[in-house]
């Protein structure tokens, strides 16, 4: 777990292209575009946070990245009109990658799985367990380059909007450090629960498939980050899992479940947007509005946590959905004989 945390930390420092997409590209700020104030960014964040928690409570795996985008866009539109959002950037660097990335990961994972099963013989495949130590570390690294970046992007956006930084500048070093540390700390503290949950359902996925899926996830995320595409690591990882499931002989995909989850993802940007817009509208009414935003937002968060404790839902939904959700693997011969 410490390794994953450290690698996330390192990854965050490696590249700031995605942060600049968020801070400089998506929401126009400064003289060229329309004025975005930190208050509206707050509204956007409230939108993102509330939607994230709602999906967590409902047990829906959701993309926190897309909730972030949705919230910001909703707030920006209410706060400063449609001109505040750079539609070009939205489409090319957010929406198209959002759709393309999971499919890419799926395709890459499928082919990688075919290679794995084609080249190696059954008794050799245990070696993939060792390989997975490296590939899962790489996923942590890639995750750091993309996810920490979005946080940096938002903070930088707020700093630019507040006048602390010139328009068009990149993230300051202290912002980079702070976000990197936060992601690493989060990985370290919350990671074990996620590993336990995934581990339970991964028993039906062979190490070779895990290796293939993780390699595909890393490759897709790093290639996208290089071009400044902000994408959802959750979705990419899920795409890889489906790809590797299809790649293995005899496995079938639970399409209905996959469809339900896909629907949740499609809904995320608009719904987070609406909540963000609502928060922005309240905030626009003046300081009382901002206070209402924070108080009501905080109350909703509290209610959600209380409800969650009653249902004993755990934080597994923050990670990629369990592979078992999507794919019914080939039945093991032993199990069939025992049945």
């Amino acid at each position: 777990m410490a390794i994953a945390a450290v690698l996330n930390l390192v990854g965050a420092f490696l590249s700031t292209t995605v942060a600049q997409t968020i801070s400089g590209g998506l929401i126009r700020e400064g003289h060229g575009g329309v004025q975005i104030t930190p208050v509206f960014i707050l509204a956007g964040l409230i939108g993102a946070i509330l939607w994230n928690l709602v999906t967590w409570l409902l047990g829906l795996p959701s993309s926190s990245s897309h909730a972030l985008f949705g919230g910001l866009i909703g707030a920006a539109i209410v706060g400063a009109g449609f001109g505040a959002v750079d539609g070009g950037v939205l489409i090319t660097k957010v929406l198209i990658p959002a759709v393309l990335a999971p499919f890419t990961a799926g395709l890459v994972s499928y082919i990688a799985t075919k290679i794995a099963f084609g080249v190696t013989r059954k008794r050799e495949r245990d070696g993939f367990k060792v390989g997975q130590i490296f590939t899962s570390s790489l996923v942590s690294l890639a995750h750091g380059t993309n996810d920490a970046q979005k946080t940096m992007g938002v903070i930088t956006l707020a700093l630019i909007a507040g006048g602390f930084q010139p328009v068009g500048s990149g993230p300051e070093l202290w912002v980079i450090c702070a976000c990197a540390v936060a992601i690493a700390a989060g990985t370290y503290s919350g990671g074990w629960r996620i590993i336990k949950t995934l581990g339970r359902d991964i028993t039906d996925i062979e190490p070779a498939q895990g290796f293939a899926a993780e390699a595909a996830t890393t490759a897709t995320i790093l290639a996208s980050t290089h071009l400044g595409f902000a994408l959802s690591t959750t979705q990419v990882a899920s795409g890889s899992v489906i790809g590797t499931g299809i790649g293995r002989k005899g496995a079938s995909v639970r399409w209905r479940t996959a469809g339900r989850i896909a629907l949740g993802w499609v809904v995320t940007i608009p719904v987070a947007g609406v909540i963000g817009a609502l928060a922005a509208f309240l905030a626009g009414l003046g300081p009382i509005g901002v206070a209402i935003d924070v108080v009501v937002g905080g109350a909703i968060v509290l209610v959600i946590f209380l409800l969650a404790r009653r249902n004993r839902i755990h934080a597994a939904q923050f990670s990629a959905p369990d592979p078992g959700v999507f794919v019914k693997p080939k039945r093991r011969k032993k199990k069939a004989a025992a049945a």
Binding site: T92, T104, A112, V119, F128, A219, H226
Partner: protein, 70 residues
């Protein structure tokens, strides 16, 4: 608004080539390792080393600070 399709193609191709190369090297390495003949071990190790080279090379390409000249 013009869409830079080349960028998307780049992502798909780069991800595919990298992951396929890594998987091929690793699988060949595992396959070579299977058996007692003396010549197998060094070749397998070579495969795994190439895996490492590939990964490091990929990271080098992605991290801007590592290649200011490019």
């Amino acid at each position: 608004m013009s869409i830079n399709w080349l960028a998307f193609v780049t992502v798909v191709v780069a991800a595919l080539v990298t992951a396929a190369a890594l998987m091929t090297l690793f699988s060949v390495g595992l396959r070579l390792n299977d058996g007692k003949e003396r010549w197998r071990r060094p070749l397998a190790v070579l495969m795994f080393v190439l895996c490492g080279v590939l990964v490091l090379g990929g990271i080098w390409l992605v991290v801007p600070v590592l290649h200011p000249g490019l």
